[in-house]
């Protein structure tokens, strides 16, 4: 059973309940079609569990097969510097079928982010250290492909569907507050 080696920490992008009982950590790649397909599933889980669930996204870009993955991760981190990580994250996944550098700039425009700032971030790979550190932490935690999910530190071994992820979340809640 693989476990999460890098606990959720202040460098992470996290949304949902600040005192959530369950943390769902995803390792993902913005150009991975399975990750895009998992996004509506994650949203649905967030709706279902509300403040009881928090969601963390960490980068696992497989750049040799996904040439835009690192640039997209850089764009998300740049947006994150301006408090708009999740907005960029959601729009990149929603538009993944036409992912390109132009798309990232267009999203930045939509989010009223500086396109010059984005250009600098991409050309100087200003967030490469954070992205690589997410990646290596994932490798150390046994991530072997994307998406990979951890529920309160335990690897989710099932499919990336609402019922199977909900079962892992429920199991984590039962550990915290056993059903009598």
């Amino acid at each position: 059973m693989s476990t999460l080696r890098v606990p959720v920490n202040p460098r992470d992008h996290r949304r949902g309940g600040s005192n959530a009982r369950v943390a769902l950590v995803e390792y993902g790649d913005y150009q991975c079609p399975y990750c895009a397909a998992a996004q509506p599933v994650v949203r649905s889980l967030e709706d279902r569990y509300g403040a009881a669930l928090s969601v963390v996204f960490r980068h696992f870009p497989l750049v040799e097969v996904h040439p835009f993955a690192a640039t997209a991760a850089e764009a998300a981190e740049y947006a994150g510097d301006h408090g708009l990580f999740w907005e960029m994250h959601d729009l990149v996944f929603a538009n993944q079928h036409r992912l390109s550098v132009q798309l990232l700039f267009a999203i930045a425009g939509t989010l009223r982010l500086s396109q010059i700032g984005l250009r600098d971030s991409i050309t100087r790979t200003l967030h490469a250290e954070k992205i690589q550190s997410d990646f290596i932490g994932g490798v150390r935690s046994g991530v072997n492909g994307t998406p990979s999910f951890f529920v309160n530190g335990r690897r989710h071994e099932g499919a990336f569907t609402v019922p199977e992820l909900a079962a892992s979340i429920q199991a984590a809640m039962d550990v915290l507050a056993p059903v009598r």
């Binding site: 497989l62 040799e64 097969v65 490798v139 150390r140 935690s141 046994g142 072997n144 492909g145």
Partner: protein, 170 residues
């Protein structure tokens, strides 16, 4: 499931085709550490994910002083097409003729299907297997076990000093 060679065993020597017109021998790694990743088949979903993952962890393996070789029974032309498609930056060896001979020598051949098992070996600088792991065929073992095993090996410079001092005392 086959029984793979365990830590402490001398790594069986081999020379295999690495491209349609080149061969590679284990002896070329003498004095260095190398990871052997036996896998069932180019193009299969799990192997593709596993080799792609290792391709991205390559710099981390190299930081720890280890090279990486992939080995399957696929022919060198097949390996070439697969490596190009996935942008692989490490050699894939063809255990193609006599089929599976090297995999068999490592206990990593599945006679029932005629493919290599999904087995990992770390061979140390003296040519001894220092760690091995057999994964179920359908399970991508990831790279965490390999990195942990490499972390636990003595660092190479230290080892040279030890080897010298033991020679002197002998």
């Amino acid at each position: 499931m086959p029984a793979i060679l365990a830590a402490g065993t001398a790594a069986p020597a081999f020379t295999l085709r690495v491209t349609p017109d080149q061969t590679l021998s284990l002896t070329e790694f003498a004095g260095r550490r190398v990871i052997l990743a036996f896998y069932p088949a180019d193009w299969s979903p799990v192997c593709g994910d596993q080799m792609t993952l290792y391709n991205h962890v390559l710099s981390e393996f190299r930081n720890k002083g280890a090279g990486l070789l992939g080995i399957s029974v696929d022919g060198p032309w097949c390996h070439q097409a697969f490596a190009r498609d996935r942008n692989l930056h490490f050699p894939l060896l063809s255990d193609f003729h006599p089929k599976g001979e090297v995999s068999r020598a490592y206990g990593a051949y599945r006679d029932d299907v005629g493919e290599s098992a999904r087995a990992l070996f770390i061979i140390d600088e003296t040519g001894t297997i220092s760690w091995s792991h057999l994964s179920p065929v359908a399970v991508n073992p990831g790279a965490d076990g390999l990195l942990e095993a490499l972390d636990q090996m003595p660092n190479l410079e230290q080892n040279d000093v030890d080897a010298q001092s033991s020679r002197q005392s002998a």
